[in-house]
C-alpha cells in the first residue's frame, strides 16, 4: 500500500486544508471543475467537499466514460449482444447503463451471453478459448483505457483471431472540455486536469485552457492529498495572477505523455467526424473508431446495429450537471425518479458519476462536532 498511504496522510491533508482555507479567505468564491470521474469519486469517497471552505465549489465534469455514453449506443450494444452466437464482454460499470428501453443487465437476464472482464485481453482470451462464439468487446473509456483496446486489436490481428471484434466507444477528453468552456454561462475559475488520461496524452493538450480561455489547470492525482494539493495550486495561481498548466501528479504523469501508448492509438484508431455525448450532444472529432487497417475487427462493421439516436429523457438534466451549470441535487428528478437503483441519467449509474457519487457519499454535511478518534 505504499504510494497510497502517503497520499492519505492525515497530517499532510490537514496542512493543505489549512492552506486552502487561508488562501480562499483572500479570494472571491471560486468554481473549479474536476475533469475526471475518478476525481469525483475520490472527492466524495474521502469526504473532501466537507473539508473545503464554502467559497470553493467543486463542479463535476464530463470525465466519467460510462456517464457520457448516449442511449442509442447502449441500444446498439444490446442489439449486438442479443444476436445468436455472440458473447459480449464489457466492464462491470457498463451493465447498468440505461438504454432507450432496457440495459445490458436486462439483456443478460433475458439470455444474452454477457461477461464482465477486467481487461480487453481477457475478452480476446475468451475468443481464443471458445472459437465457436463471436466475442465482442464493448470498449468504453477515455485515452486511459484506449491503449489497452489498441493492444488487444493488434494481438487479435497478429494471432489471427477471427471470432473477435471491438464495439468501440472510446472518447477523448479535450473536445468536451472545449465544449464546456464554450457553453453559454460558463463560470469556471479553473480545472483539476485529468490524471490518468494525462499519463497517456501528457499535459501539452491542455495548453489551450490557459492560452485561449485564461484559466489555470493543474493535472491532479486521485488520492485525498493529491486533490487538496491540486486545489491549493489552483488558488495560488489565481492569487498570483498566473494561469498556467501545472502538473501536481508528476509521480505518474510526464509532460510529454506516454509515447508508446500514443503510438498504439495512432496505429489502431482514427477520429470519428462526430460522436454523441450523453447530455452534451454531438461533439466533433471527440471519439475514436478502429481505422481501415483494423476494419476486420470492428464490430460495427461486422454486425448490423440499429444506430438510432435516442433523445435523452426530458426530465433528465445530465447535460447541465456535466457542464457544471447545475449541481446534482438541483436536477428535477435527483433522488426521486432517478436513484442508483433506477437511474434515468447515466450520471446516476457509475460510482464515478457526479449524481451517484453525491447520492452515495455526499448527502451528509458534517455537523460541527468533530468525531472523537478511537484509541
Amino acid at each position: 500500500m505504499k504510494f497510497v498511504s502517503e497520499f492519505r496522510d492525515p497530517d499532510a491533508a490537514k496542512a493543505l486544508i489549512a492552506d486552502i482555507a487561508e488562501q480562499a479567505a483572500k479570494q472571491p468564491p471560486r468554481k473549479f471543475m474536476e475533469a475526471c470521474g475518478g476525481h469525483t469519486h475520490a472527492i466524495y469517497r474521502h469526504g473532501i467537499e466537507t473539508l473545503l471552505p464554502e467559497s470553493i465549489e467543486m463542479v463535476h465534469g464530463p470525465g466519467c466514460p460510462v456517464c457520457v455514453i448516449p442511449m442509442g449506443r447502449v441500444d446498439d450494444a444490446i442489439a449486438v449482444a442479443a444476436q445468436e452466437g455472440i458473447t459480449m464482454c464489457c466492464f462491470g460499470d457498463v451493465l447498468r447503463v440505461p438504454g432507450g428501453t432496457s440495459s445490458l443487465l436486462e439483456a443478460k437476464a433475458n439470455g444474452a451471453d454477457l461477461r464482465v472482464v477486467y481487461s480487453p485481453l481477457d475478452a480476446l482470451a475468451i475468443a481464443e478459448q471458445e472459437p465457436d462464439r463471436q466475442v465482442v468487446f464493448l470498449a468504453v473509456g477515455f485515452e486511459t483505457t484506449a491503449p489497452s483496446t489498441a493492444v488487444t486489436a493488434i494481438q487479435a490481428r497478429d494471432r489471427n483471431v477471427d471470432n473477435f471484434s471491438i464495439f468501440c466507444n472510446h472518447v477523448t477528453i479535450v473536445p468536451p472540455m472545449k465544449a464546456i468552456l464554450d457553453s453559454p454561462g460558463m463560470s469556471l475559475d479553473g480545472f483539476l486536469g485529468p490524471g490518468h488520461v494525462s499519463t497517456v496524452i501528457g499535459t501539452g493538450p491542455y495548453e489551450f485552457v490557459a492560452r485561449d480561455y485564461g484559466l489555470p489547470l493543474v493535472t491532479t492525482g486521485f488520492e485525498p492529498v493529491d486533490i487538496l494539493q491540486g486545489v491549493s495550486m489552483l488558488l495560488r495561481q489565481l492569487s498570483e495572477g498566473r494561469c498556467e498548466v501545472e502538473n501536481q501528479y508528476k509521480r505518474v504523469v510526464r509532460d510529454e505523455g506516454n509515447k508508446a501508448a500514443l503510438g498504439l492509438l495512432n496505429e489502431v484508431f482514427e477520429l470519428r467526424p462526430h460522436f454523441e455525448w450523453r447530455g452534451l450532444g454531438f461533439i466533433g472529432q471527440s471519439a475514436l473508431a478502429l481505422n481501415e487497417t483494423f476494419a476486420k475487427w470492428d464490430a460495427e462493421k461486422r454486425f448490423s446495429v440499429p444506430g438510432l439516436r435516442v433523445a435523452d429523457p426530458k426530465a433528465c438534466q445530465c447535460g447541465e450537471v456535466l457542464k457544471g451549470a447545475i449541481r446534482p441535487w438541483e436536477c428535477k428528478v435527483f433522488g426521486t425518479a432517478c436513484t442508483p437503483e433506477t437511474p434515468i441519467g447515466t450520471c446516476m449509474v457509475s460510482s464515478e458519476g457526479a449524481c451517484a457519487a453525491y447520492f452515495n457519499y455526499g448527502r451528509f454535511r458534517a455537523k460541527t462536532r468533530i468525531p472523537v478518534r478511537p484509541a
Binding site: M1, V4, R8, P10, A13, K14, I17, Y44, R45, H46, G47, I48, T50, L51, G92, R96, V117, Y118, D122, P224, P340, E341, S351, F359, N360, Y361, G362, R363, F364, A366, K367, R369, I370, P371, R373, P374
Partner: protein, 360 residues
C-alpha cells in the same frame, strides 16, 4: 437337501444380498442418484452417512426427534449456499454451509445444536468432489459442535444447476432470559467488530481466477458462537449482534441504522483490514466495507463496557483482533456516516446492484 430347502436358501441369499450396504461405484452424479432407488441409497450411505452419520441421521426416518432442555427456547434458521467456485483459499462451500447457519444462530445468542443439510446436485458432478465437500461439512460441524440430524439430496439435469447447491437449516438453544435486538440500542453505544473485514469476499474473488491477481488472502469462514458466548458472558447488557456476510459491514450498519432509527458513525482509521485485502480492494476499486465476511460479527455494547467486551473477545482465537469501529448517535437518523482520518465524512449507503455475485 430337498428342493424346498434349496429354494429357501436361495431366497435367504437374495434377502441378504438386498439388505447389504449398497456400494457406490459411480464416478459422477447421475440422475439415478436422485431417483430414490438403490443408487440414491448407495450415495447416501457411502458419501453422506459415512462422513457425518450419527444416532439420529442413521435411522433414516423422515424427520429427527430432538430433546429441547426444559425451560429453554429454540432459535431456528435456514440458509442456501451457491458460491462459485466451490473451493477457495481458506474453505469451501461445505465449510460455508455449516458456519453460515451456525453463525446465524450464534449471533441470535443461541448455542447451535442441530443442522439439516440438503444438497441439489447437477448431473455430472464428480463424486470425488462431492466427497471433499461432504468431508468439509463433517469437519466444520465437528468444530462447531453441532450434529447433522436430517438431510436430503436431489439431482437435476446437466445445465439445470451449477454443480452443487447446499441448504442448511439449524436449531440453536437460547437462554430464556437473553434479549438481543435493535430496540435495546441507545445513542452513545459503541459498535465493535470481531476481527478483520473483507477476507471472505476477496478470497472468493481471487479464487475465480479471472482477475489474474495473486495475494495472500484466505476466507475467514469459521464458527463464531464461542466468541459470542464470551461476549455475552462478559457483557450481558450487549444490545445487538449481527454477522456482516453479504454486503459487508456497510450493509449490516445500514440495517442497524434503519432498525434503530438512529445514526451510525464509523471511524475509517479503526477499520481492521489486512494489507493484502486493502491492496486488492484498492486495485479493483472495491470498498472493503461492502465485502463479505463469513467468520465475523458486529456488536453494539454500552460505551462503558467496550473494554470488557474487547478483552473478552480477544481471549477467543476467532475474535482475537476485535476492535471498536464506531458509535451510535441521534444526529443523523437512519444514516451510516464514515469519518475519514483527516476529518472528512461520507455516507456509507446500502449496496446497489451486485458487484460480487455468488460469494456464499
Amino acid at each position: 437337501m430337498n428342493s424346498q430347502e434349496e429354494r429357501d436358501q436361495v431366497h435367504e441369499r437374495i434377502t441378504q444380498w438386498k439388505l447389504r450396504p449398497q456400494k457406490l461405484k459411480d464416478e459422477v452424479i447421475t440422475m439415478a442418484h436422485g431417483a430414490g432407488g438403490k443408487a440414491s441409497q448407495a450415495l447416501t450411505d457411502a458419501v453422506f452417512l459415512d462422513a457425518y452419520g450419527g444416532e439420529e441421521l442413521d435411522r433414516l426416518d423422515d424427520g429427527a426427534v430432538l430433546d429441547v432442555p426444559a425451560g429453554k427456547r429454540i432459535v431456528f434458521t435456514t440458509d442456501a449456499f451457491v458460491v462459485t467456485p466451490r473451493t477457495f483459499a481458506g474453505g469451501s462451500i461445505g465449510d460455508l454451509a455449516v458456519n453460515g447457519t451456525v453463525n446465524d444462530l450464534a449471533v441470535m445468542g443461541a448455542t447451535p445444536q442441530w443442522l439439516t443439510v440438503s444438497a441439489v446436485l447437477e448431473e455430472g458432478l464428480p463424486i470425488a468432489e462431492l466427497r471433499d465437500i461432504v468431508a468439509d461439512i463433517a469437519a466444520a460441524a465437528a468444530t462447531a459442535g453441532v450434529s447433522i440430524v436430517a438431510g436430503d439430496t436431489k439431482v437435476v439435469e446437466h445445465g439445470a444447476a451449477d454443480g452443487c447447491y447446499l441448504t442448511t437449516s439449524g436449531i440453536g438453544v437460547l437462554d430464556s432470559n437473553l434479549s438481543l435486538g435493535a430496540e435495546h440500542v441507545r445513542p452513545g453505544d459503541a459498535v465493535i467488530v470481531s476481527g478483520s473485514l473483507g477476507d471472505h469476499g476477496m478470497a472468493v474473488m481471487l479464487a475465480r481466477g479471472d482477475l489474474k491477481l495473486k495475494a495472500d488472502i484466505a476466507s475467514d469462514t469459521a464458527p463464531v458462537h464461542e466468541a459470542v458466548r464470551a461476549l455475552l458472558d462478559a457483557v450481558p447488557s450487549t444490545r445487538w449482534i449481527r454477522d456482516p456476510t453479504r454486503g459487508g459491514l456497510a450493509s449490516t450498519c445500514n440495517e442497524l441504522a434503519v432498525a434503530t432509527g438512529m445514526g451510525v458513525s464509523l471511524f475509517e482509521e479503526s477499520f481492521p483490514i489486512k494489507p493484502p485485502v486493502a491492496g486488492a480492494c484498492e486495485l479493483l476499486g472495491i470498498d472493503p466495507l461492502y465485502v463479505a465476511n463469513e467468520g465475523k460479527f458486529a456488536a453494539v455494547v454500552p460505551a462503558e463496557h467496550v473494554d470488557a467486551a474487547l478483552a473478552a473477545l480477544r481471549s477467543v482465537p476467532v475474535s482475537a483482533e476485535a476492535v471498536a469501529v464506531g458509535e451510535i448517535n441521534d444526529e443523523h437518523p437512519g444514516m451510516v456516516v464514515a469519518h475519514t482520518p483527516f476529518g472528512g465524512s461520507r455516507i456509507v449507503d446500502m449496496l446497489v446492484g451486485a458487484p460480487l455475485p455468488r460469494i456464499c
